[in-house]
Amino acid sequence: MLEIKDIYKTFNEGTVNEKKVFEGLSLTLKEGDFVTVIGGNGAGKSTMLNIVAGAYPADDGSITIDGVDVTKLPEHKRAKYIGRVFQDPRMGTATDMWVEENMAIADRRGMRRGLRWSITNKDRERYKEALAQLDLGLEDRLSTKMGLLSGGQRQAVTLLMATMKKPKLLLLDEHTAALDPKTAAKVLEITDKLINENNLTALMVTHNMRDAIAHGNRLIMMNAGKIIIDVSGEEKKKLTVESLLAAFSKASGAEFASDRALLS
């Protein structure tokens, strides 16, 4: 489904701030894979997602989604295949537009946008039904400005927006990191539900080891731009935070360097 092949990426090349993030990163996802990604600070998790989404170009290597080489496609064209939810709840929605207007925009992802009226009554019914499934009481707030919703509500709507037009690939970039634990759990629950119901292929970056272990069918751990642990299936089910930390020290020869991940 997704093939990341031999990606190279250096930021600020040729300056004192030069940072080599990837030197030949490769990763392949099968259809229906739900992969959780964990790693220390600066491991390249978010950069990987951004390169897949086309937010930054890769210096070298290729990205293939469902057999289509998207390496040269600009971000807005790749959006046809990709649904995204960001870490910052403000980033995933247009705050000054209504809930239904945001959903209408997501509803046309990858389609030609013409001079038809953007929301019909039929659309409105569909949006209402979809929102009702979130169980957050948002179905009655179609004409509320997005900016008036709470961070958790916004992330939930963003998730809906990322999946309502079924994406080939769903990218979740620490999408619960800015939420309080209770809200984060609720958003994760919705995430699981949407991924299972739509049978989506997904990459979820998280800083929470427990979440990384509890969700998805495959877990990868990154360090310094490399994938150092990759477990799936039965083996993944047996993982614990302790065994994961031990495996990390063994693979990288260092202590796991993320206070956030260890404290949560």
Partner: protein, 308 residues
């Protein structure tokens, strides 16, 4: 008593001015409020519209064709700014300034090197839509009101369409727009062209209203447009989210601006000071919310510090 009557006598003229500038401010609203770009192209494109219209009318071209050409010329100007910004990565405000300067030369070329092209009433009075004549003022107001209403109707429809909402999303949140598959560069270029087209159309009407196109007529146009938008926002309660009502408020803001302007002139303020006054009013309105915000956020920080 006489004084009051004299003052009242200036109001219809101010309403006429206000409606033309209201149309201009509606054009500016697209970039300033919807796309979140301060587009300085308008200082040039309003004159481009006036120049195209005046030159074509004085050369015997039908007024409707002349005004249509003014609209297209304005759109081309917006296109140049849009390309400078999106293809060459020049910050929007600088791209607008560059186009504005280019337009100075272009406008002179359109007017064959003259600084002023008069649409004399004696010769062209029956060929134009509106004139500067005081006797025509009510007809002028009605015609301008129709232009403003039609423009608002078209924009209301446009921004409700699938494509129109991509412009709103682009101005609101670039990351989200791209993630949802919107070509944000195209949306910006289109918005700039649409905006400047409307501004140039306002320029074409302005040339007819004041009986000439003048190379200096666009100087400070953006400030007048911004003043109209700001007054309009103040008029319009926050609860009004209806797009056509908001645009109507902008047109109303422009009319109020010219009422105040005429009154200040009437009271006897030297006209040299008027541009200073406009700029100061806009600076105050733009500055006050910022001062409020920094003042209040400082207070919050201090309180947080105590708890920590």
């Amino acid at each position: 008593m006489n004084l009051i009557l004299n003052w009242l006598g200036t109001l219809p003229g101010a309403a006429g001015q206000g409606l033309v500038w209201g149309l201009m401010a509606i054009g500016l609203y697209i970039t300033y409020k919807i796309l979140d770009v301060a587009d300085l192209t308008v200082d040039g494109s309003i004159c481009t519209g006036a120049a195209v219209c005046a030159v074509m009318v004085t050369n015997g071209v039908n007024i409707w064709i002349a005004m249509f050409c003014a609209l297209v010329a304005g759109m081309l100007a917006g296109l140049v700014t849009g390309w400078l910004h999106t293809i060459f990565g020049i910050p929007a405000i600088l791209a607008g300034i560059l186009t504005q300067l280019m337009l100075w030369s272009v406008n002179l070329l359109i007017m064959s090197g003259r600084a002023n092209v008069a649409i004399t009433r004696l010769k062209y009075g029956d060929k134009v839509l509106i004139t500067s004549a005081a006797s025509d003022i009510y007809r002028t107001i009605v015609i301008l009101a129709v232009f403003v209403t039609l423009t608002i109707a078209v924009l209301y429809w446009f921004f409700g369409t699938e494509f129109g909402s991509t412009l709103r999303a682009t101005g609101n949140n670039l990351e989200m727009s791209r993630a949802q598959g919107i070509n944000t560069n195209f949306a910006k270029v289109f918005g700039l062209a649409l905006s400047n087209g409307i501004v140039a159309l306002a320029g074409a009407l302005l040339a007819q209203q004041q009986g000439s196109a003048d190379i200096n007529m666009g100087r400070g146009a953006i400030v007048i447009g911004l003043a109209a938008i700001i007054i309009g926002e103040a008029l319009c309660p926050k609860l009004v989210t209806n797009f056509y009502l908001r645009l109507l408020c902008v047109a109303g803001g422009a009319i109020i601006y010219w009422f105040v302007f005429q009154t200040v002139v009437f009271i006897g303020l030297p006209s040299e000071l008027l541009k200073m006054l406009s700029a100061l009013v806009v600076a105050c309105f733009l500055g006050v919310p910022y001062l409020k915000k920094t003042y209040f956020s400082k207070k919050k920080k201090a309180r947080g510090g105590k708890h920590a």
